[in-house]
């Protein structure tokens, strides 16, 4: 930075600012997605999730090699050896109670608290990003991750399964058999179901994230809430509140694995999740738009 360089005046035409409204490519949402998915931590989480189907597939392959015949495993896992494409779906179902919520908790809990912790929150607001817009963009990023996480499990599982096991027609829970393309579609549907299931948790995480400047705290709180919801859901003594619990429909995706597909649980789950998004989104908005940003 020499004195000569400094004398160059900067761009001095405020009139041009109005021109060229940002396309998606250069938008804040695009920037958010790039920042999220290029981050090592996000990639590591996705890699861990991809490891779940790998672990299951290898375990099943080894136990099948024992010549033990009928294993005592859950029925779904037994089916794996018949069709590799189902490794992903099985791994995803196994991951729903803990692995996926932890991943979502880390990303959603980090949304605002992470920015506050780095100090970048104040600079985004000074840009000005707008508090409401920033919140929407942050939720958009978290929602994209909700889709990415189960998709990674399903795709990684299908790939590993195709290598280790046969690929062919798949028997469903209803006893019918579907073709390979149909089974791929079903696997993607299951991933979509889990993505929708995690939207509510993301909104909860977003809200918790506006309460603190310590991202780890927000992450832990979000994951704790997810676990608590599942515990309550398992207690018959409190069955009055079961329909309102975040996790009430998390494991109801069996309907998607029958013929014909029953959309009842998908619909009920979607309504519940949208409710959580509205309530916790509103709380997050109320908090962020009135908060003093002091970090």
């Amino acid at each position: 930075m020499s004195a000569d360089e400094l004398t160059t005046p900067g761009p001095t035409s405020p009139g041009t600012v109005a021109g060229g409204r940002a396309s998606l490519r250069g938008s804040l949402l695009a920037s958010e997605l790039l920042t999220l998915f290029r981050r090592r931590r996000t990639q590591a989480i996705l890699a861990v999730l991809a490891g779940v189907p790998l672990l299951i597939a290898v375990a099943v392959k080894l136990s099948a090699g024992n010549g033990d015949g009928e294993g005592g495993g859950p029925p779904l896992i037994d089916r794996l050896s018949h069709n590799g494409l189902f490794v992903g779906v099985t791994a995803l179902i196994v991951s729903i109670p803990l692995f996926v919520p932890v991943a979502i908790g880390v990303v959603a809990g980090d949304t605002i608290a992470g920015e506050a912790n780095l100090g970048t929150l104040r600079y985004l607001l000074l840009a000005p990003a707008g508090r409401t817009r920033l919140l929407l963009v942050k939720f958009g990023g978290a929602a994209a991750f909700c889709l990415a996480a189960p998709l990674v499990v399903v795709v990684a599982g299908a790939a590993i399964g195709a290598v280790l096991f046969d690929v062919g027609a798949v028997p469903l829970l209803s006893g019918d058999t579907v073709s390979v393309p149909e089974s791929i579609l079903r696997a993607l549907l299951v991933a979509g179901y889990v993505a929708v299931s995690m939207l509510g948790l993301s909104a909860v995480g977003l809200f918790v994230s506006t309460l603190t400047e310590i991202p780890v705290g927000a992450m832990a709180a979000t994951v704790t809430l997810a676990i608590t919801s599942q515990i309550l859901d398992a207690l018959p003594q409190v069955d009055a509140i079961h329909p309102y619990l975040l996790s009430d429909h998390w494991l109801d995706l069996g309907d998607l694995l029958r013929t014909p597909i029953s959309w009842d649980s998908f619909g009920a789950n979607a309504i519940l999740q949208v409710g959580y998004v509205i309530v916790f989104g509103a709380l997050a908005w109320a908090r962020l738009t009135t908060r003093d940003v002091l970090s």
């Binding site: 930075m1 020499s2 004195a3 360089e5 400094l6 004398t7 160059t8 005046p9 900067g10 761009p11 001095t12 035409s13 405020p14 009139g15 041009t16 600012v17 109005a18 021109g19 060229g20 409204r21 940002a22 396309s23 490519r25 250069g26 938008s27 804040l28 695009a30 920037s31 920042t35 290029r38 981050r39 090592r40 780095l118 100090g119 970048t120 104040r122 600079y123 985004l124 607001l125 000074l126 840009a127 000005p128 990003a129 707008g130 817009r133 920033l134 009135t290 003093d292 940003v293 002091l294």
Partner: protein, 323 residues
Amino acid sequence: MTTGTAAASGEPAIATTGLVKRFRHQTAVAGIDLAVPRGAVYGFLGPNGSGKTTTIRVLLGLSAATAGEVRVLGRPMPRDLRTVLPRVGALVEGPAFYPFLSGAANLRRLDAADRGAPARTRQARIADALERVGLTNAAGKRVRAYSLGMKQRLGIAAALLGPRDLLVLDEPTNGLDPQGTREVRHLVSNLAADGTTVFVSSHLLAEVEQVCTHIGVMSAGRLVAQGTLAELAATGTSRLHLLTPDGGTAVGVLARLGLGLEGAVVDGDEVTAVLPAATVPEPEKIVAELVRADVRVRGFSLRRESLEDRFVALTGEGFEVVR
């Protein structure tokens, strides 16, 4: 540099009336009336903890005022935040960046956050801002690997991403070496020459004294002085020092000259007095009067208090944090 209506109407770049910011247990800002004229380089001085950064946060809408009015570039804040902030470049309480992104990628993200910033010219504006702070060669490096001084420069580059009418720089020379400090000073002068109003906070007078046209001094949440450099100097005091065996006569003469001498001390051959700088006549005139009254003047000095002395007088000298 601006064609905005506010500039035409000559409204101050920053104006607050009775600005108060209270946190749960303490009043950080206790009713201040800032007036920063257009085109000024305003040095916002005060020791650590005197409320400078809190004030800046409220000015920029990061924090809500407990009471009082804030107008920035002629518009009420935070109501018109969306139209005001794109014209304001700011560095608040040190630079902050994503350590895992490069310097240029950090600026891209900040620019994307500004809805009004055209994506078409983004690359060019970023390159320009990086060049102005001398970071062109480090643009592709992750911020994790930046030194504190480099981060500070990147923070200033972020403030220069677009055409700005007002720059708010909170302690911009923190972490910079003397060379970097000089460069920042130079940069501020150049921006001011372009017509940009610069509001620069510092706890060191020496750092801003050379570039400022105006100064405001904060102490314990209050604005204890504000004005142009000349005005501020005029409100200071001068110290008179006279060596003479005729102390009693001398004090009489000085009193006749209209110098309030309640503080005059005669100690043997020495007379000392502290006088308000604004009313003191030229020293040669004082000496002439003394000699006319047969006072044997053996030594005479009239030293105007430096701005530094004034600053210390206003804010207190102690190392101790006051609150």
